[in-house]
Symmetry: C2
């Protein structure tokens, strides 16, 4: 296991994970075959078996994989058992949704704090997560050794907030503002563009 993962395999692993986790408890306590997973997700069974071989301890002929074990193996491989601190810059609707979500924990992330330029929001608590003034973000990230940030501020302040993040040692930025961000070479930005996601979904039959 854990040998030469291809980028394609890496993209499919979360798919298997979500599917297995979404199974009813009755099926989660039993076994599952690569053939069944492939069938459910519309993939080739050999492909699924090869993907699983790279992260799991292996299945058994005739019975398949132990479902709970497989979920664990994939999850561990993808780092879902980590505890990586994450900050959110911008406590508007999107930011509040991030702070309010409890599902990050299942994937190894702790949203530790929200930051906003609105003085009135500083000091409040959302879903148990503190909100502080944006001016405190730099020192917070440095002292807490935060490596990951989410940007949910308006377009016109996104670059400014991004600069503070990169100065604070943040290496990975998930950007919800629909604007291109300039970052140093050792920082990675992922632009989350929901409109494009929607376009790829709703026009798939057109292409």
């Amino acid at each position: 296991m854990a040998k030469n993962i291809t980028s394609q395999t890496l993209q499919r692993l979360p798919l298997y994970f979500s599917y297995l986790v979404s199974l009813p408890e009755s099926r989660k306590s039993g076994n599952i075959s690569a053939t069944a997973i492939a069938e459910a997700l519309g993939l080739n069974d050999v492909q699924v078996r090869k993907d699983l071989a790279s992260v799991s301890r292996g299945g058994r002929p005739r019975t398949g994989y132990i479902t709970a074990e497989l979920i664990n193996d994939i999850g561990r491989f993808l780092g879902f058992e980590n505890h990586d601190g994450v900050v959110v810059a911008g406590v508007g609707n999107f930011g509040r949704a991030m702070l309010g979500s409890d599902s990050f924990a299942d994937y190894g992330f702790d949203i530790v704090c929200g930051f906003d330029c609105n003085e009135k929001l500083a000091g409040t608590v959302i879903n148990g997560k503190p909100v502080r003034h944006i001016s405190e973000m730099r020192s917070f990230c440095i002292s807490e050794n935060i490596k990951t940030g989410i940007i949910t501020v308006p377009e016109n302040s996104a670059q400014e907030v991004c600069d503070i993040m990169t100065e604070s040692g943040i290496k990975y930025i998930l950007n919800f503002a629909s604007v291109h961000l300039n970052v140093p070479k050792n920082v990675v930005v992922h632009n989350e563009n929901i409109s494009i996601t929607l376009a790829m979904l709703a026009r798939r039959d057109f292409f």
Copy 2:
């Protein structure tokens, strides 16, 4: 142009589009070469040229493509000049963020209405978009011929809302609830899982 688009090309086209749109106005008014785009996005220049050849009217040797024309060609191909109506079920933080965003219009989508089970929200207006009671969603979608829906309700009511959507003729569902949805075969669900996106970004150096 517009010949045999591969799935890989289709995934890169929005990338080119975002990059070109993000360029400063001074550069948007001039020309750009496939070589320059490739350089900026870390891709192979022949690949970019091949991708662009499938949607654009072509570039010129020595000078490259006319930037504004290229943006138009890619945008038109991807349907960004459409006007497709979209409904949002669930007017919580996420739903409000969707209704509040003006960027969908740039990609050919009109968020026409939000729906919620909270009676107090019905009749309100967010960013010019009306909010109605969830009980009105079915008739609304049918009469307006809506094909695309966004689900931003809590996990426990996602399937119920999803059922209403499929009964209303909706074919494409963007699901923000972290739960598996059962749909008829002719309906496509895209599960937007921000935790997984974050994991793929923040752990890329680990894999």
